[in-house]
Symmetry: C2
Subunit: 266 residues, 2 copies
């Protein structure tokens, strides 16, 4: 059993300190083992150009935000998966960080960049992997990764019990598709989506909220409203995600025919 959930909120573009403070105050009384935050919750999303990303992004190993989140994890004795604009020398990545009471534990760099992100960020260069949080195996993916069934499949095959999915969704497809992801892989998924808009001179991008937790067999545990702060935490029973049986004779993983799937990794 793990107590896990999300904190949906509305970042303000470029206001890193204000956004961090929203998270710190939003989570200050949270009782949980693991909380997922949205994609890019500190910088905001709608960058002018790559130059602006470089200016706003941080090296997680030298970041006041990561330090503050680590202190929060220590105080509340939980873990956080958060989106993060990651600077690495002359590269920048749309990343997700796993942070715990002892600091940064893992960085995932978004593999499948959405639209203008291709101009702003470098594509991920770290293999998909699974991290252990209090005996629960979590797999990190970011936003648009959802549309590629391979991402959640690889994470589940690596043993993920729970997909942690920071998002800045603008379309309405993802929430239903994540139900399919949880059904086909028999895993949990926490999609934490931001809401509100980034309004800039360039234009405006609106985000759709409706963060959610889905259980194996595609059961929706909770879905947030589209335009309100929402902190939601639920106890998740990982014995369910470790049971890949669909019927007494069917096992979602043992029934797979990998030799017939070669085309997928060619």
């Amino acid at each position: 059993m793990i107590r896990a959930g999300y904190f949906q909120f509305k970042p303000q573009f470029g206001e890193k300190e204000k956004n961090l403070n929203q998270v710190l105050s939003g989570l200050c009384k949270a009782e949980a083992d693991l909380i997922v935050l949205p994609e890019l919750p500190f910088t905001g999303y709608y960058f002018k150009d790559r130059h602006e990303v470089m200016r706003l992004s941080e090296n997680p190993k030298d970041s006041p935000i990561v330090d503050a989140l680590t202190a929060l994890c220590r105080k509340n004795n939980f873990f956080i998966v958060t989106g993060f604009a990651e600077r690495a020398k002359d590269k920048c990545y749309n990343s997700a960080l796993l942070i715990g009471p002892k600091g940064l534990l893992h960085t995932y760099r978004k593999l499948h960049l959405f639209n203008l992100e291709k101009r702003w960020f470098d594509p991920g260069n770290i293999p998909l992997s699974v991290q252990n949080v209090r005996g629960v195996r979590i797999g990190m993916m970011v936003c648009f990764d959802w549309i590629f069934p391979e991402v959640s499949r690889v994470l589940a095959l690596l043993g993920a019990d729970l997909l942690c999915h920071p998002s800045n969704l603008v379309l309405g497809y993802c929430q239903q598709a994540m139900i399919t992801r949880c059904l086909e892989n028999s895993v949990y998924a926490i999609t934490c989506n931001r809401y509100g808009a980034d309004s800039r001179r360039l234009g405006e991008i609106r985000f759709t909220g409706k963060s959610q937790i889905v259980a194996p067999k595609g059961i929706l545990i909770n879905r947030a409203p589209s335009g309100k702060n929402d902190l939601f935490i639920a106890p998740l029973d990982v014995s369910l995600s470790r049971n890949k049986r669909m019927t007494s004779l069917n096992h979602l993983f043992k029934d797979r025919k990998p030799a017939r799937y070669k085309k997928i990794s060619e």
Copy 2:
């Protein structure tokens, strides 16, 4: 443009001639290029044992059913994808056949057998492949194949415009999941499900109807009722399934990172 659809009906267990006559009369006035029938529409589904499958199954190259369907295709100038209990010497397969005015064109043998089917049938031993029907590339899959995202993915990567999906569904998950399949692959899918029950001394299995056609981007074109005959044919524009763009900078297939998906075919 292809006019394609499904004929949902209620087979009676073991009544091959009656079931064939239902299809012949149901389709006698159909104007279409391609019609999908349910899984195992001639034998019915709930077999007592493998022995009974061997008795009721037929070699498609020596089958009065295939001959009659070929004559129907010739008369109405269309193609049929139908489920079929296929006998091949001492093996039997839960197959889908593509039949046209000139006869049998392709056999797909279900790769992922559901529950008791494992006792009745041999698993498929023919690679997934795509067939050309009047310039449209169709991919055949059968029922429970839907839960393995690899099946529709491989078919789409092979160029399928349209998934033809004969089914005998007993659960309620598939229809929504097929919407995700069509979204993630930007393909059409026709799921033809039977309805009614096979009531036998052993017990009863009920089937759920709700056959459907889904368009790329996951748009539901039509869904049948759960317990009524339904012949539905729609014009499908395959230029939509050949457009894999999600945004001006995103292409569902070119954005894939096959090197990161190795685990799937291991």
